[in-house]
Symmetry: C2
Subunit: 211 residues, 2 copies
DNA sequence: GTCTATAATAGGATAGAC
DNA sequence: GTCTATCCTATTATAGAC
């Protein structure tokens, strides 16, 4: 399909820093990872990092932006759409889970710092995502597609599943991203649908527009 | 030495350290929290901490033990039981979620360090929990109570929901712990049951406080 | 763009008075 | 059990050569 990188492909240093930093941040936390460890993983010396990023914080900051960027756009577009809210939620979920699975960075790291005050400036975009997801759930409850659960609690359960999926698969270039995305999205929909037999229809309709 | 605080219950310093440390570790991470910050929250000086705990690591270590202790016992007992596996899974879930909600400490902190190599010695008990949960799911799939999902993926989704619930409610002494426990356990069961109409029976048989 | 050398500071932990 | 004073190491970041 896509043109393969040559066998002696050179990943730019800046890119390698993001990859290795995301991996280390995920295991040991942002504060638990030193710039020396990142540099060692990238196979450069510690001060060389600062040629590519002005500070350690800016490395994490870029990873947060990558995580929040497209997800909130997709969620807001689906939340504002017409027709079955259950289908729109499914479409958003499949897109987001596949994105997480395919990402070259381990975005667990982002989830571990969401409450850290030093990244408080990044919370606005996250709030937008929460609102869009809850809106879709509320629409589906109002239309009778979903059982009348607590919309807040359901939204939280979804976030937690997405977050867990991030922790588990991100940065690994999962080969069957679409299969995992469908399985998890189906798990969530089955928990919410008033009539579980509608899941087949939704899955069929959701994959039609798939990339 | 110090004047007694009227009729208010006096919380021992050691206990206050665990509470404040768990709260700070959850927001800022284990490495992101300094012993000076913990001491400030407890309203003592930094070196006084070391009269109660030999090291900062030992504070976190105790929180991990509190989190893992009873959960694994309950899960293993239910996994080894007889009768409906769906009911046993529900009972374990309700117990664990209510425990998380009622705990005086913010056990999110524990979840944030599970992959940190410096707490690698704490992973054995965690593995026991994973095995017990997956066993219950497999039993329920084999008996036809659950749809034939990927048992690994389902176990992970459950962990993620529990973990999220920890992040969201722990350390807050949630008043309606049993209600939250039933709602979340029901969400999980509905996602897994072959026949969703069986949920009512399971809740009646397994829940302590009906909703 | 990467290196060596180093500045500047924050952090965990100890000693010993009271 | 808590305090003050302090040690020592690890850490982020800068300066300047090549």
């Amino acid at each position: 399909m896509a043109a393969q990188e040559s066998h002696e492909e050179e990943v730019p240093t800046r890119e390698r820093i993001l990859r290795e930093a995301s991996r280390l941040f995920s295991r040991k936390g942002y504060h638990g990872t030193s710039t020396r460890e990142i540099a060692e993983a990238v196979e450069i010396r510690q001060p060389s990092l600062f040629h590519h990023f002005p500070s350690k914080r800016d490395i994490m900051s870029e990873l947060i932006d990558i995580d929040h960027g497209e997800s909130s756009i997709v969620a807001e577009r689906q939340a504002a759409g017409k027709g079955s809210a259950a289908l729109r939620l499914y479409r958003y979920l499949v897109w987001d889970i596949a994105f997480i699975c395919r990402c070259a960075y381990d975005l667990t790291s982002v989830e571990l710092v969401v409450d850290d005050p030093i990244f408080a400036d990044k919370m606005a975009k996250r709030d937008a995502l929460v609102i869009a997801r809850r809106s879709m759930i509320e629409q589906a409850i109002d239309s009778g597609e979903f059982v009348s659960v607590d919309a807040d609690l359901a939204e939280k359960a979804i976030v937690w599943i997405l977050r867990g999926d991030i922790a588990d698969t991100a940065g690994q270039a999962v080969p069957d991203a679409d299969v995992v995305a469908d399985q998890l999205a189906s798990f969530i929909l089955r928990a919410l649908l008033e009539d579980a037999s509608q899941l087949g229809e939704i899955r069929a309709a959701g994959s039609i527009t798939e990339v």
